[in-house]
């Protein structure tokens, strides 16, 4: 008896099958790619407008070692990080998470539970939405363009750390998403997934420097320590924008925290996922 399946090969088959499926509905595929890209460019236009009113976001003077001022192109680097994280999450997990809710509602989760493979892996990755990867390309393009405008060439280490923490960010977002989707086992139906996604990404897509004052500080604390979405984009983006040395204590602590938060999110969401399966009732028939 062979031991277990090769997860990489299964994933590649998922990716391949999804691509074939995406291509079957070519028109739909093109429209999806186009509409999500135009959303990006509209956003970009909006921030160009904002930067007509202010040279930078965040202020060095009031916040001491914690803060960082984001000029226009620094902010575009931040924005490109958001794009990369979001497009990866959407391409890999978004469709699967909403499909998961549907499988619970209709009872087709049965088949996933029968397969001799990790159920969470199967549920989380069986469909890949290739059309969402268009924004990954746009994000990389925007990053290269912004770096060029600043005249700043990041070191190899910076790029590697950037990539590592983009992956951490994706993992945090994924954990939130799959945990939320798993609640449909108890709720019978949970359609708030897309809304939730919008609310959360709304908070994660700004530099944490803007969360200050009587309203901002509690928000920053909440979205850092309770639902750690603020570290999702902020941590990798900082690695790209600022040189690695010199570092402030905060610059060191935040990535360490982000890493811990990633592990905790993954462990926590796996726990929720497994708990939810215990309550699965397998609808109809």
């Amino acid at each position: 008896m062979p031991s277990g399946p090769s997860y990489l090969r299964v994933f590649l088959t998922f990716a391949r099958n999804s691509l074939v499926r995406n291509m079957t509905f070519r028109g739909n595929f093109l429209i999806e790619t186009f509409s999500s890209m135009s959303w990006v460019f509209m956003n970009l236009g909006f921030y160009i407008l904002v930067f007509q009113h202010t040279p930078r976001i965040g202020d060095v003077s009031n916040w001491g070692e914690y803060s960082f001022a984001w000029g226009k192109y620094e902010f575009f680097l931040f924005l490109s990080t958001t794009l990369m994280v979001n497009s990866l999450v959407q391409a890999l997990f978004m469709e699967n998470a909403s499909e998961f809710g549907e499988m619970i509602r209709t009872g087709t989760l049965d088949f996933a539970l029968l397969k001799p493979i990790d159920t969470q892996f199967l549920i989380s990755l069986q469909r890949i939405d290739w059309s969402s990867l268009g924004n990954l390309v746009v994000g990389i393009g925007l990053a290269v363009f912004s770096l060029h405008k600043i005249g700043w060439v990041p070191s190899v280490w910076q790029v590697l750390l950037f990539m590592l923490f983009v992956i951490c960010g994706v993992a945090i977002m994924y954990s939130l998403m799959i945990a939320l989707a798993a609640t449909s086992i108890w709720l019978g139906r949970n359609q708030s997934l897309y809304n939730f996604w919008f609310y959360i990404t709304n908070f994660s897509r700004y530099p944490m420097e803007i969360y200050r004052g009587t309203y901002g500080t509690p928000l920053r604390m909440f979205f850092t320590f309770i639902i750690p979405v603020l570290v999702v984009v902020n941590v990798p983006a900082r690695f790209l924008v600022r040189p690695l040395v010199p570092q402030t204590p905060m610059d060191l602590l935040l990535p360490v925290f982000a890493f811990v938060a990633t592990v905790a999110s993954l462990v926590g969401s796996r726990w929720v996922f497994n708990r939810s399966l215990l309550s699965y009732r397998s609808a109809s028939s």
Binding site: F25, L114, S285
Partner: protein
């Protein structure tokens, strides 16, 4: 000595269901205070199935047949009791177990809807880690037997229901399971497709000696395939034996078909038994099993009969009778336990 493949002991599963009242006001009230009722889908089942058996689960809708199959597949967890299949506790969902059985459901499909079945099969090959050469051989053999080889590259959504079911069966058997659970595999199919699937299952099961549990509402499936029948109603096993035993135990009467010489059906036929149908020159009379010879003798003496046929009532009718008998006795202790929750 044969080996027990399925061992079930006092297996029970109950669900708490939100009881939704009608009307808007009640719906709003339901937001704050909910009434639940407990549905006992399976109420303590004991069953042993030996290797190579083909067992049918019969019972009305909601009797607990499918729930039992789902418990044995490890898809849901039981409320109490134990079960072992091939030595594994199903709901632990160990890969070692999951690689050895398959579940086919007539009402749910697992193949990728927009892709050709061949692509889904390929995915199965990887998930079950089937040796490529063996995979090709098994796939060709199954699709050959089911006569669907030419449909492999057509998107599943373009297949007919019967073709799709054959593809589902193929997908489920690619990894050569030792135990097969079939939940109404022929539901909604036309007679020809039903027959073909029955025929396939019969041969496949016999050839491979695979232990099979089947639920179906089509008595033809059951009669064609299973020597052993388990009747489940209200979550309990009411009968476990052969089809012939059902006839002995529940077939309390026989049906006598009479062909009258003069084409005229006598008016007093009712005295011999219940007249089921009158289609001159034929009439059908239902007679108690023990009285068949005596009654027939009297009829033949009194009336000009040219042909006689004595047979058991149709299996469907007999099973329906079993169900309704059980219904009457079970109605008293009540199917539902009503409870309240917050």
């Amino acid at each position: 000595m044969t080996m027990a493949v399925v061992e079930i002991e006092s297996l029970a599963k109950s669900y708490r269901v939100y009881q939704k009242a009608e009307g808007l006001a009640a719906s709003v009230a339901g937001l704050f205070h909910r009434k639940y009722r407990t549905v006992e889908a399976v109420r303590g089942i004991d069953l042993t199935v030996e290797a190579g058996e083909f067992v049918a689960f019969l019972g009305p809708n909601g009797a607990g047949k499918t729930t039992t199959l789902k418990l044995l597949s490890g898809v849901i967890n039981p409320t109490s009791g134990t079960a072992r299949v091939l030595g594994h506790v199903p709901w632990r969902r160990e890969n070692a177990y999951r690689r050895r059985f398959a579940l086919v459901m007539g009402q749910k499909n697992q193949l990728w809807w927009d892709l050709p079945a061949a692509e889904s099969f390929r995915l199965h090959q990887q998930i079950y880690r089937i040796d490529p050469a063996e995979f090709d051989r098994t796939r060709d053999e199954l699709t050959g037997m089911l006569a669907i080889r030419n449909l492999l590259s057509q998107p599943v959504r373009e297949l007919s229901l019967g073709e799709r079911m054959k593809m589902e069966l193929t997908a489920a058997l690619l990894h050569k399971p030792d135990v097969l659970f079939l939940d109404e595999p022929t539901i909604g199919l036309d007679v020809v497709a039903q027959y073909k699937i029955q025929d396939f299952l019969k041969h496949y099961q016999r050839e491979r000696g695979i232990t099979t549990l089947l639920t179906s509402h089509y008595m033809k499936d059951v009669a064609a395939l299973c020597r052993r029948v388990v009747i489940i109603t209200h979550g309990r096993i009411m009968f476990d034996g052969s089809l012939a035993q059902i006839v002995d135990r529940f077939g309390g009467h026989k049906v006598i078909t009479l062909l009258f010489a003069d084409g005229h059906i006598p008016g007093d036929l009712g005295v011999y038994g219940e007249v089921i149908s009158e289609e001159p020159p034929r009439a059908k009379v239902r007679v108690d099993r023990g009285d068949v010879t005596a009654t027939l003798g009297r009829i033949l003496q009194q009336h000009p009969v040219v042909d006689v046929n004595v047979e058991d009532p149709p299996l469907e009718e007999m099973i329906a009778e079993v169900f309704s008998q059980v219904d009457e006795s079970a109605g008293k202790d009540g199917e539902l336990v009503v409870g309240r929750g917050g």
